[in-house]
Amino acid sequence: MIRRFLEGEEQAFTEIVRHWETKVFSLAWRYLGNREDAQDVVQETFLSVYKSARNLRDPDSFPTWLYRITLNHCRTSWRRRSPELSLEEPVPCGVDGEGEVTRTAAVASRQQDVLEARDMIRRALMGLSDEHRSAILLKEYLGLSLEEIARVMECPLSTAKSRLYHGLKGVQRNLARIGFRP
């Protein structure tokens, strides 16, 4: 798919987008904590991919390259936004279009729990630095190896490990602060 696009087959780009858009969107949403901003990042990311894919020398490194572009756009979007989210700020469920929880009471209740838990995780992640948050998102949600994380973040392996560890500790601390009970 990547090779076909690099060889000039335009149709392959549609396949690339369809294959990767969920990953890119989820990464951006978890980084930014806002779906609309994440949607913009997805659009900008794929535009960048389309424009600069010819610079990609090794098609096998496409995922790490794609995630690096995504995180760069996330950082730009993060700097643009104001005011920044606070850990203490309550983020009501449904704000991001989650108001579809209207099925049976049991399902709704369970789903509500999940949404609340997710929102707490989101707030805990928002309280991390860019480096710690990126490391956690790349490892825990995208399943990259530690080597790949080091490549995406352009840092030594030991630094990637350290960022991941301190990121996890930070999330743990933030969850405890906002009263998360697993």
Partner: protein
């Protein structure tokens, strides 16, 4: 971070080891015996590791989601930047191309001329046969040079005679004038 002093490894030295233990990636070296011994004997580190494992499963609550709207695809060729060749690469390419062209011209015995008949370009793989009348042989050149030297000697000899005659004539003229002036003075006195 607790410091466990009864073991060879301190608790704050095992942070990166925690990451290795949490993710156990294939192809990476197994956790060291010292680390495992430390975890086995340090309750604080065991608790911390368990807390991190619990956190990993908590984070999984947040699952992937599809984008809100389909990604707008660029029209074919609308924004894709053309291939830009760096300047240094273009120069190198041009130099290599020039060398190849020169080599081909050389091998093909190219003859390029611009004269009163206009521009002409001619090539031949084998060397062109040289018309014998266009060039002098060595012997002919020697004869020509000898003749030129002879002519030159004769010319020089004539020139020297001419110069000598000219000087004599000047000298005689001056002498005749002197005699005439002396005679006139004598007659006047």
């Amino acid at each position: 971070m607790p410091i466990f002093r009864g073991n060879a490894m301190k608790c704050d030295e095992v942070q990166e080891g925690f990451v290795d233990l949490l993710y156990r990636e294939p192809g990476t070296p197994a956790p060291s015996k010292e680390l495992l011994d430390h975890i086995g004997s340090c309750a604080a580190c065991r608790k911390e590791l368990a807390g991190l494992r619990e956190l990993q499963s908590t984070l999984k609550i947040w699952q992937d989601e599809a984008p809100l709207r389909p990604v707008l695809l660029p029209r074919s060729g609308s924004v894709r930047s053309p291939v830009r060749i760096p300047v240094w690469r273009a120069v190198r390419f041009a130099a290599a191309a020039a060398l190849v062209i020169l080599a081909l011209l050389s091998l093909s015995n190219a003859q390029i001329a611009w004269d009163k008949n206009g521009f002409s370009f001619r090539t031949s793989i084998l060397p062109l046969p040289v018309p014998p009348t266009d060039y002098y042989t060595r012997q002919e050149m020697n004869t020509i040079l000898k003749a030129v030297m002879e002519d030159s000697r004769e010319y020089n000899w004539r020139m020297m005679q001419f110069m000598r005659d000219a000087i004599d004539q000047e000298h005689n003229t001056d002498f005749r004038n002197f005699v005439r002036v002396v005679k006139e003075n004598r007659a006047r006195n």
